[in-house]
């Protein structure tokens, strides 16, 4: 069939919205009509080249934070049928590899192996082609910047049909990543002092996770005033414009003890900034690295002595160290019950044709999250 998608042909270029050819789903795959897709900073990382080598070769269809409706299922698909509403996990969960089998589907071995190919998990070939027949790769095996896509069932999590898809799509990456960074990776507990460095689509949800987990102080650090204000709306107790400003205020925010948990959720990870933020952590603190550092960055400026002397822990976290099949439905329940705010996260919506404007707004700090809405 023919559909429309936002294609990226090279680093530094704009997204090109064009007609593409889409093959029907093969065994284990489903055709999904996409209804909404978040514009996450990781797609911007494709444009800047920060993710070079870790994702699909070009040309590719961007987008990995999406939700839609199943139109057709290939052979041997279990548990999904036409009409089902789904959120995509930006990492698939095969349910059988050693990582999935031990409760870490965010590290699914199947997803890890297929990611850099950008091709289908099932047989390594492409279902998406340009109008003149060139194979297209998929961001995170999904390609949600399109009216339709074909993906493997292990990327799909079925959700209730009464949930708004323009909110549910955020569960495919940003919300789970941020919320889980606080709840699972940092293991925020009642009474904790928590600092969240970077209050965008990820950090805003780390603030929400920390709040629900009972943090006493939640300091959101971001240079953009609008983001600091949004963080306060979502549960932050203090905000600072920079790490340096937060350092100076440690006496006020944590009685000089330092934060118990520091969660790094900047637009782009940076070894020097991490080294600076490391000092926000107190004794036995956990410093969680959620934001993506450029793949070419080889070192970080963390003072090793304080790992030992203050027993600090430096912890990486992917997709909030969460499990999509449990956490996406659970977070949607929390949304329904008013314990998780998704509405405030969506700053602006765009049509697919307006995608470049959406990313421009992200770069200018105007959006917590911009969301593409499909007809």
């Amino acid at each position: 069939m023919q559909t429309k998608a936002a294609v990226l042909r090279d680093i530094g270029q704009e997204w090109s919205v064009e007609d593409i050819e889409l093959d029907p789903p093969k065994a284990g795959e489903v055709l999904v009509q996409i209804k909404a897709s978040g514009m996450c900073h990781s797609d911007e990382h494709l444009v800047t080249g920060d993710l070079a080598g870790a994702t699909s070769p070009m040309p590719l269809i961007g987008g990995h934070e999406g939700a839609g409706i199943v139109l057709e299922v290939g052979p041997n698909v279990v548990g999904l049928e036409p009409g089902d509403h789904v959120v995509f996990g930006f990492i698939p969960a095969c349910g059988r590899c050693p990582s999935c089998a031990s409760g870490h589907s965010n590290l699914c071995d199947v997803g890890g192996a297929a990611f850099p190919t950008g091709r289908q998990i099932s047989d390594g070939t492409a279902r998406h082609h340009t109008a003149d027949g060139e194979d297209l790769g998929l961001m995170c095996l999904l390609g949600t910047f399109a009216n339709h896509t074909v993906v493997h069932e292990s990327s799909c999590v079925k959700i209730d049909k009464d949930l708004p898809l323009d909110r549910a799509c955020l569960l495919g990456c940003g919300v789970v990543t941020g919320w889980g960074s606080a709840v699972y990776a940092a293991e925020v507990g009642p009474g904790d002092f928590v600092a969240v460095v970077g209050a965008g689509g990820i950090g805003a949800n780390a603030v929400q996770g920390a709040k629900l987990a009972g943090a006493r102080v939640i300091a959101a650090i971001d240079p953009v005033e609008f983001k600091r204000e949004t963080a306060m709306q979502l549960g932050a107790t203090h905000t600072y414009a920079s790490i340096a400003e937060a350092m100076e205020a440690l006496g006020d925010s944590t009685w000089g003890r330092g934060f118990d948990k520091v969660i790094m959720t900047m637009g782009v990870g940076n070894g020097d900034a991490l080294g600076e933020a490391f000092h926000l952590g107190g004794k036995r603190s956990k410093i969680v690295v959620t934001n993506i550092h450029p793949t070419v960055e080889a070192s970080i400026a963390v003072p090793g002595a304080f790992l030992t002397l203050f027993e600090k822990q430096l912890v990486g976290s992917l997709f909030g160290s969460a499990n999509i099949r449990k956490d996406i439905p659970q977070l949607l329940e929390l949304y329904t019950q008013g314990q998780l705010d998704l509405d405030t996260l969506v700053t602006n919506t765009y049509t697919l044709d307006e995608i470049n404007q959406g990313f421009e707004d992200m770069r200018n700090g105007k959006n917590i999250r911009g969301v593409l809405i499909f007809d």
Binding site: P75, C94, A101, G103, K326
Partner: protein
């Protein structure tokens, strides 16, 4: 196809080796030729009735008729045929049984607790996990069969869901694989995972059968300072010493003062309850053997209708003790069965030494008599 199988027609009967009919596997199913099956106490619990749901509860559980039952849930074999849509195994693969399915998708599987997979809910129903219909019946148009744990490894062949087989390397002896699929994992995980034995701990294991011996093995591997094995049978106590026990006693009463002395009055950090049948009164001394902040792990199967056990709740609260249940040692079959087999390959886990006697399928009642007599750590049926 036809297969010979050990069938139980009711409680307090012998196993009957009879011919059964096995249908071809449908979507998501596999036909397995079982090569080895462990004689686990849980099958015996069907004979004694300890694990048989009371008949008045059958309608609630959706059971029309529980009987007849093909026994066996500890096993290993070779994939003989695969139904449509099966992706994790192919014909000729060697597989371990997994007495709890792991669908990989439910809330429990998704969070690293495959031992609690929701697909295990219909264990006593005749229908397959896949579509609710049966593939097995008595030969000659007889009644449909219940497969114990939906596996029935006491049959030469059975059709099971893909979710209940785990591919293993072909160089492992299938008898060893069979043991890991239930008893070894359950005992080892009870110590290493559920009790979380750590270096320097004092650990008591109560009951040294196919489960307890592996709790001993797990506790020793996790660095326990004292591993105290309790069993009335001398042969089992000797066996426990081979598997890493540091002390043995014939009863909890005898163990009590000794544990007090060797722990300088602090008693055990971890107590693991693995008797053949876990009667409630055993919990009185079981909990007292644990000291302040101690953990008591309940692994052994208690009679299904038993609702009371003797626990001093004052001590439980004042000494901050905890009692934890476990199934399958709280392990994940797909991750941990291969892991345990690799430990065996590296010489760090004893499996061959667990097998006391081998039986043909026709000798299965001899095997269970030996279990009742206490002369087996583990008996194994080797299918001809």
């Amino acid at each position: 196809m036809k297969s010979r199988a050990a069938v139980l027609h009711g409680t307090d009967q012998e196993w009957q080796v009879e011919e059964i009919e096995v249908d071809a596997p449908k979507a998501g199913e596999v036909l397995i030729e079982w090569k080895a099956a462990g004689l686990c106490h849980s099958d015996e619990h069907m004979v004694t009735g300890d694990m048989v749901p009371p008949q008045e509860a059958w309608p609630l559980l959706g059971i029309d008729d529980l009987w007849p039952v093909v026994g066996g849930h500890e096993g290993a074999g070779v994939v003989s045929e695969v139904g449509p849509g099966v992706t994790s195994v192919a014909v000729g693969d060697h597989v371990s049984a997994s007495f709890i399915p792991s669908c990989g998708r439910c809330r429990y599987c998704s969070t690293g607790r495959q031992n609690l997979c929701d697909a295990g809910a219909g264990a006593f129903l005749k229908g397959m996990i896949t579509d609710g219909t049966s593939r097995h019946r008595m030969a000659g148009g007889g009644p449909e069969l219940t497969l114990f744990a939906k596996l029935g490894t006491f049959s030469q062949y059975s059709v099971v869901s893909e979710d209940q087989v785990i591919k293993v390397d072909t160089d492992f002896p299938l008898e060893a694989v069979a043991l890991v699929s239930c008893g070894v994992a359950t005992g080892w995980g009870s110590a290493t995972n559920r009790a979380a034995v750590s270096p320097g701990d004092t650990v008591v294991v109560v009951g040294i059968g196919g489960i307890g011996i592996n709790a001993v093995q797990g506790a020793a591997m996790a660095g326990a300072r004292h591993v105290i094995a309790v069993d009335p049978i001398e042969f089992k106590r000797e066996k426990a010493m081979e598997f890493g026990a540091t002390h043995t006693f014939s009863s909890m009463e005898d163990a009590f003062p000794a544990v007090m002395e060797m722990s300088e009055g602090m008693m055990a950090d971890k107590v693991i309850m693995t008797p053949g049948v876990l009667y409630g009164e055993l919990m009185a001394l079981g909990t007292q053997l644990a000291g302040k902040g101690g953990t008591i792990v309940v692994t052994g199967i208690a009679p299904m209708t038993q609702t009371e056990s003797s626990v001093n709740l004052f001590e439980l609260a004042m000494w901050n003790k905890e009692i934890k249940g476990t199934i399958f040692g709280s392990l994940n079959p797909r991750a941990d069965i291969p892991k345990l087999l690799n430990l065996y390959r590296d010489g760090q886990l004893k499996l061959d030494e667990l097998i006391t006697n081998r039986y043909t399928l026709d000798e299965i009642n001899d095997g269970y008599q030996a279990m009742r007599d206490g002369s087996n750590i583990r008996g194994v049926v080797v299918h001809g």
